[in-house]
């Protein structure tokens, strides 16, 4: 079995890695956003697993439609649907935050209609300043206390430091793999990369690091991909469906970099290992490459996007936006003007959480590829 195949085993919601963890009598918590500090959960010897809902059938969310309403994003509707079907029964609880209106109300609807033994929501400030940093540190301290009380564990500074080291190691390894994608012939597709990141969010992190190191070594020795038509950057929110990227890559658009929740915005920034661990966690999570929920950080996100476009020699950008997502619509509205000014071709795709309408998408991506080829 290749490393990639081993990692792929961790992608389904309930997977062997989680089962083994649970068989050891240990707890698993589901979380919803990149602003949730996994390190604190991991330091409590609890496995943090990113809540996903890829097994949800598109358009088959009666519970989600009724309670989240049909005009909420399909990710939240799918999550409520699966929670109601007990498909998250491997979780001992959920941790959320006020990342957006729909996610925070998903948390409420789950508590009321499909509760878990443990729920917690972290208040993440909507902007970054010295004042909000202090507030956020207090917020995550309360979360730490809640874990200690509810799961009868002690989260020492040493455990936190160890968790930070483990998670930083992942970030460094992922970044090394991303750096290989800067090459003219990148050794890995965007589809494979998304699978790796998804796996990392669904298995014990030290074991993920072990496999990731092996994967990195393999990739370093691998012959790169040369038969692509254009180098693509994907920008958007929660996308964990590799089939979506596969549609693009099957048409010759090699995804070489991204600015996504399950991508650079998740792992790009490290936690300072020399500081008090709770302070360092708070600083990193509030100051990391921001999601559009963070007011006033648009210039930094633009700079980040432009830097990646340049470093990864991107030919064109594909914006992917889940239908009914307020934050990303506003963000893309501003970003596309920036790309126009810079003369960088882009394509904007609206999508549902679970891939649907692939035919229409193929047509649009194919046309985009032809534009990119004509530009060369």
């Amino acid at each position: 079995m290749t490393v990639m195949e081993k990692l792929s085993q961790a992608i389904p919601l309930a997977n062997p890695w989680i089962n083994n963890w649970r068989n050891e009598g240990k707890n698993v918590l589901g979380y919803f956003c990149t602003y949730i500090p996994e390190e604190i959960i991991y330091a409590a010897d609890i496995l943090p697993v990113r809540v996903r809902a890829r097994t949800c059938s598109a358009g088959d969310t009666p519970m989600g439609d009724a309670y989240m309403t049909p005009t909420a994003c399909s990710f939240t509707r799918c999550c409520l649907e699966l929670a109601n079907q007990n498909q998250y029964d491997f979780l001992d609880g959920i941790v959320s935050c006020n990342s957006c209106d729909q996610i925070r109300r998903l948390y409420d609807n789950i508590r009321f209609k499909a509760p878990f033994p443990y729920h917690y929501i972290i208040g993440v400030p909507g902007c970054v300043s010295d004042t909000t940093h202090e507030w956020f540190k207090h917020e995550i301290s309360k979360f730490k206390e809640s874990l200690e009380k509810n799961f009868k564990v002690s989260i020492s500074d040493e455990k936190l430091k160890k968790a930070i080291r483990v998670y930083n190691k992942s970030r460094e390894l992922l970044k090394e793999i991303y750096n290989l994608r800067k090459h003219d012939n990148p050794p890995i597709t965007g589809t494979e990369m998304l699978n790796i990141i998804s796996a990392g969010m669904s298995m014990p992190r030290d074991q993920f690091n072990y496999l990731l190191s092996q994967q990195l070594q393999e990739l370093k020795e691998k012959e790169g991909i040369s038969d692509y038509r254009a180098r693509i950057m994907i920008v958007g929110s929660m996308l964990d469906d590799p089939e979506y990227l596969k549609v693009i890559e099957d048409l010759g658009g090699l995804v070489v970099v991204d600015s996504q929740c399950l991508g650079t915005r998740y792992f790009w920034d490290l936690i300072d290992e020399n500081k008090n661990p709770m302070d360092a966690i708070g600083e990193r999570y509030l100051s990391k490459i921001a999601c559009p929920r963070m007011a006033g950080k648009y210039p930094e996100r633009v700079d980040f996007m432009m830097k990646l476009i340049k470093e990864f020699n991107v030919d064109g950008v594909i914006f992917q936006r889940i239908k009914f997502c307020i934050l990303w619509w506003a963000e893309i509205f501003m970003l596309r003007n920036k790309l126009k000014d810079e003369g960088i071709p882009f394509l904007e795709l609206e999508r549902e959480y679970v891939l649907s309408g692939a035919g229409a998408m193929k047509t649009r991506v194919e046309a985009f590829m032809e534009i990119l080829e004509a530009n060369k």
């Binding site: 909420a72 109300r105 902007c127």
Partner: protein, 482 residues
């Protein structure tokens, strides 16, 4: 930057649509009866002159409100007064203040509907509440050309981004939006608001500032806030003041701030009494009145005019209670409306009153719940300022977990002897719409009364029409409530 923006204005679109607006207003005027000619003449004269290119719509809205002020009944004249009442006069002055500030070199600061302007008054700045535009234009269906334009440009759509703010972006792209000197907004109550204000900032380059309203109460025993939350808000307010000082030549003066907060709290006293008076059966004030109180506080809170207006609302309600006068004759149904009004249909509430002898006792914005506070020290004044944000209409009930909204609503239903709940859910309002189903279940379980939930775009008459709305409400009131 701002001047450059104004100078490049293309007025074709604006002119075309202003003519539609003027025609609508003329129709309205024809059905009106002038109450106090001398006073109205005064305001007609005050509105003359060149207000500036970017204030063309603002000026037309002023004329529209002036016309509506002459109306014998309706939104702006809830007490059916024989004179131009203090509320209307206050609103007219709010419009006039912007061109006046321009002339006098006073910075204009745009702010959203969930932040009261007392700090701005304390610092001698001119506040401009942005949603006056979208609500005011909705009355005469004038949002719709702007909504069409922004749909075509590709900034959101109806169910995704709220049309309380999208017309502003549309106006800005057509150089028709009022261009303030400064922009301010909050992280709550919704993503739409924060996102659209940032887009507006991006289009205009206006200096902007944002305050985070915390999501959660720390202590379970604390209903809405604790000392840490309060201090967080106070610290942010102080940072904001520093920013205001740096971006204007205006200095913060403690004494002026204290005076302003005293004025604010006087108005809060009146609103508190007004809210209590609405418990009377029959309800002493028409359905729209609460919204007038809200508008008073959020557009002019901290001004002496707001004190006059809230006192007038309180006095009118008290007099009606004393005389046993109800807003509708033979009151049969008392409705809670825990969301915003359907702004595009100015007559909907009148229709409910007249057709069903029903009165909307509360709406989410109109039930203004900020309590008066001690203002004897500067720190207490800051606390009072913070409460104005933490407990602001919609923010207070929606910034946290669902229970805040739920408990508030159930208590209201019990305290105000409510017979049914109507929730006209704005499609793009993700944070409230996603609570509606659970709220209706809890209300039924706790109080036994029914709830009607339906989707609507409160700012656009074409998504769900007045006829469709009336049909749903009629079926509900006739077959389920009565």
């Amino acid at each position: 930057m701002v001047n450059e923006f104004i100078q490049t204005a293309d007025f074709k679109f604006i002119k075309n649509n202003l003519s539609i607006l003027v025609q609508s207003l003329l129709k309205l005027l024809q059905s009106c009866e002038i109450m106090d000619k001398e006073l109205l003449d005064k305001y007609t004269k005050l509105g003359r002159g060149n207000w500036g290119k970017d204030l063309a719509i603002w000026k037309t809205m002023y004329k529209g409100f002036l016309g509506m002020a002459k109306s014998e009944r309706g939104f702006l004249n809830p007490g059916k007064s024989e004179e131009l009442n203090p509320f209307i006069e206050m609103l007219l002055n709010a419009f006039l203040e912007i061109p006046k500030a321009r002339k006098e070199g006073i910075p204009v600061i745009m702010h959203p509907f969930n932040y009261e302007p007392e700090l701005f008054f304390a610092m001698n700045l001119a506040p401009l509440m942005q949603e006056i535009l979208s609500v005011g234009l909705a009355f005469v269906h004038m949002n719709e050309p702007y909504i069409d334009y922004i749909n075509n440009i590709g900034y959101g759509d109806n169910p995704t981004i709220c049309n309380a703010q999208r017309p502003l972006i549309s106006m800005a792209m057509q150089k028709a939006a009022p261009i303030p000197d400064l922009l301010f907004y909050l992280s709550t109550p919704c993503n739409s608001l924060a996102a659209s204000y940032q887009v507006f900032q991006g289009l205009t380059g206006i200096p902007s500032y944002n305050i985070d309203v915390p999501y959660w109460a720390y202590e379970e025993a604390s209903e809405y806030y604790d000392e840490k939350t309060m201090q967080y808000m106070i610290n942010q307010s102080k940072n904001f003041i520093t920013w205001l000082e740096n971006n204007t030549k205006h200095k913060f003066e403690e004494q002026k701030f204290q005076q302003t907060m005293e004025i604010t709290n006087e108005a809060r006293e009146y609103t508190l009494e007004f809210n209590e008076l609405l418990k009377a059966v029959p309800c002493p004030m028409p359905s729209i009145t609460g919204f007038g109180v809200f508008l008073t506080m959020v557009a002019r809170g901290g001004s002496p005019e707001a004190v006059k207006a809230t006192k007038w609302f309180r006095d009118t309600a008290a007099e009606n209670v004393k005389k046993g006068i109800g807003a509708v004759p033979d009151e049969k149904i008392r409705i809670a409306w825990p969301y915003t009004h359907v702004f595009f249909d100015i007559n909907l509430l009148n229709w409910i009153e007249q057709t069903f002898n029903a009165v909307v006792v509360m709406d989410l914005l109109g039930h203004y719940k900020v309590l008066p506070q001690d203002t004897s020290t500067i720190e207490n004044c800051f606390k009072s300022l913070a409460l104005g944000t933490l407990d602001a209409s919609m923010v207070g009930k929606c910034r946290g977990p669902l229970e805040y909204y739920l408990n508030y609503l159930i208590d209201y239903v019990k305290d105000y002897k409510i017979d049914c709940v109507i929730m006209p859910m704005h499609f793009a309002c993700k944070h409230v719409y996603t609570m509606a189903r659970i709220a209706s279940e809890a209300i039924r379980e706790e109080t036994g009364i029914p709830t009607l939930i339906f989707g609507v775009d409160s700012y656009d008459s074409r998504e769900v029409t007045s006829e469709e709305l009336k049909s749903k409400i009629s079926d509900f009131l006739t077959h389920i409530v009565l």
